[in-house]
């Protein structure tokens, strides 16, 4: 199961190190974008958005259509994010807000119903065939060579955007008036409401922002990942692992956990190819046992 020779020779060769470190970062950053939405929504609204993968899918499909129509990838990524955000706000207002405070099973069922409905709608609108956007013309470049390793320019762009969005999210929550109101409302919604602030609007906007992050991730990944109805499910499971390891509600925690998971995957594919998924879940189990609040989580565990 363990190929320690391969691992040792990889760790001592610069080409392999560069390849695996960058691939860990790439996998981690897209995971981070999705997971940061999950963690943000949980941190404030105390609801676990099991339907988060659907917004990733909506973002990817909207980006695909925008790219096909306009040929502009940057616009496509924007439309993917905004479209998923608007869908998220509608989902929050019309559906999930009705089961706030109810037991987890009810929320899970509502989300599952939403996942199935959105999957079928996507199939009706875009068809059941897998779609691929293809690498935008701007990024159709040969991979960069660094210390013998390969780094595709498109992935440099992905990582850059993901880090920028992650930083922006932290600033939004910690430094802006919007962030302060939302955090206050999370602690004591009736009090904030008594001050004349429409708490529901802020909750919906925050939910939409979380979904927009998933949508952007879907849109950014669309050129290299095939689009199929149901594509959100795979990323959902991994983003939950990230959220649990990083600490529910902590964006820096999600960032750290996403990098840990990304590196586990990339190093694991060399050193223990048959135990990559097992290793991810093992890390999650260890965190749950020894630090149930997650690496950087602070709140009480629900």
């Amino acid at each position: 199961m363990f190929d320690l020779d391969a691992l040792a020779s990889c760790l001592s060769a610069s080409a392999c190190l560069v390849n695996q470190a960058t691939s860990g970062l790439i996998i981690g950053m897209l995971l981070f974008l999705v997971a940061s939405g999950v963690t943000l929504i949980f941190g404030v609204l105390h609801v676990i958005n099991f339907a988060h993968g659907s917004f990733y899918m909506v973002g990817a499909y909207l980006a695909y259509t925008t790219y096909v129509v306009t040929g502009n990838y940057f616009l496509a990524a924007l439309v993917g994010g905004v479209g998923a955000g608007i869908t998220g706000i509608l989902f929050e207002r019309l559906i999930i807000s009705r089961v706030y405070g109810q037991n987890l099973l009810m929320q899970l069922l509502v989300c599952y119903a939403f996942i199935l409905i959105v999957d079928d709608l996507v199939k009706i609108i875009w068809g059941a065939e897998y779609l691929a956007m293809g690498i935008p013309a701007e990024f159709r470049l040969p991979p960069l060579r660094f210390a013998g390793g390969f780094i595709p320019p498109f992935y440099l762009f992905l990582v850059g955007v993901a880090v920028a969005i992650g930083l922006g999210s932290v600033l939004l929550v910690t430094k802006t008036r919007f962030g302060k109101i939302v955090r206050a409302a999370a602690l004591n919604a009736p009090m904030v409401s008594a001050l004349g602030i429409r708490v529901n609007v802020y909750f919906a906007l925050l939910f939409g922002f979380g979904c927009a992050l998933a949508g952007v991730a879907g849109a950014l990944a669309a050129p290299v990942r095939s689009l199929t109805p149901g594509m959100g499910l795979g990323i959902l499971v991994e983003s939950f692992i990230v959220t649990v390891i990083g600490g529910m509600g902590s964006i820096p925690g999600a960032f750290l956990a996403a990098i840990i998971l990304g590196l586990t995957r990339s190093i694991g594919s060399v050193g223990f190819p048959l135990f990559v998924d097992g290793a991810m879940f093992m890390i999650m189990a260890l965190v749950l046992i020894f630090r149930p609040t997650g690496l950087l989580g602070q709140g009480a565990v629900r």
Binding site: Q20, Y130, A132, G134, P143, L233, G234
Partner: protein, 427 residues
Amino acid sequence: MKKSHSSPRRGLDRRTVLKGAAAAAAVGTGITGFPAYLKAANTPIKIGVPTILSGRVAILGESSVAAIKNEVRKINEAGGIEGRTLEPVFRDSRGKPDEAARMTRDLVNNEGCEIIIDAEASGASFAVNEVVRDMKQYCIHTNSETSSLTADPKNQVDWVFRGCRQGIHDAVGGGLVAAKVVKEKGLKKWATISPDYAYGRANTEEFMEYVKLFAPETEVITETWPKLFQPDYTENVTALLNAQPEVLYSCLWGGDLVAFFDQASLYGLFDQFTAFAVNLGDYPVLTAIKSRPAGVYSGSRYHKDIPDTPENEAWYESYMANADVLPTNWAWQNAAAINFIAEALKKTGGNTDTMKMAEATSGLTINSPFGVDGTLTIREEDHTLVNYMVGYSKTIVNEPYVVNFDQTAWSEIYKHEAEWKKRNGYA
């Protein structure tokens, strides 16, 4: 609640009367004992089809449905069989074995289906196989390529057939072509990337077994096993780059194969190795991959030029005119199954009795656009399809996407299949 109890129930009474009348009529005809075929004379022959119509592989199920509908349409327009039309009834099992089993029972018991086409993937096919064995229901499996489904005597049922590819046939074909290529180019070091579940593991093992048999100096230096439906293959791509093999084999399929190709192209992977991908040859895959590399060896799935005959071209045109999804490997297999069923029904005079249909299907040869020399046969000894197109093509960037089909002779396949059966205790 109370109110509803005391409300007038005239409507229900009327329904009860109607139900009673219907029941009496049913009993009446039963007692008077009209021969079954007279009762059935003008009713359509219902064919129950459990398949996968949702989720990531829905395209395969949808192309199966489109192919069945198109063949049934042709048969019905030509007057049906002995005056009876065919009527397919589809069910979406989402590929779940328990659902497929339940739906198969429901199709027979409640929908009155007289024939079952099991258009499920392997997992659910084994479940359907047990249901039709139990119910003594005539059935053709149309999509499961797992060899043991019909090769293993434990799974064989007198009234059940396989109307699709079988893994071992493609493994022999692939092994022969791959061995020829690597010997010509002097390549020895192989790597594999296949999905980590029963099909991926078995298929890769069978393929490499035959490559090693035909090119003994072959050495597999690395294997990477992404899980099914994994969204990102970057770590697998870089693991392959690090290992620096000379040849690559993959049985990734569908959207997973599309994603792998697009991601691997970012690293220029296909400029560095010779690659074999058994499932690359399907239209939805070939058309979806944007950075389609040239020179990749692709297994035979369905292609309008394989075989390159006017009959196959005509089938393609007819399918495309009536379907809203591209044809796949599953599409031709289901079309062929309908043709086998129609031919068997002609032989039984429209009688759908399980044993009569089984007798008519066993060893049946039909004219078909998908066969070598224009014919397909369901072999008598193990009830499995033979004489279909097996071989590998090479990809090109633009239409027709694949060229230079290297066809494997069935005499070779028969020879190695017989040895494989002996090795596995199947013969």
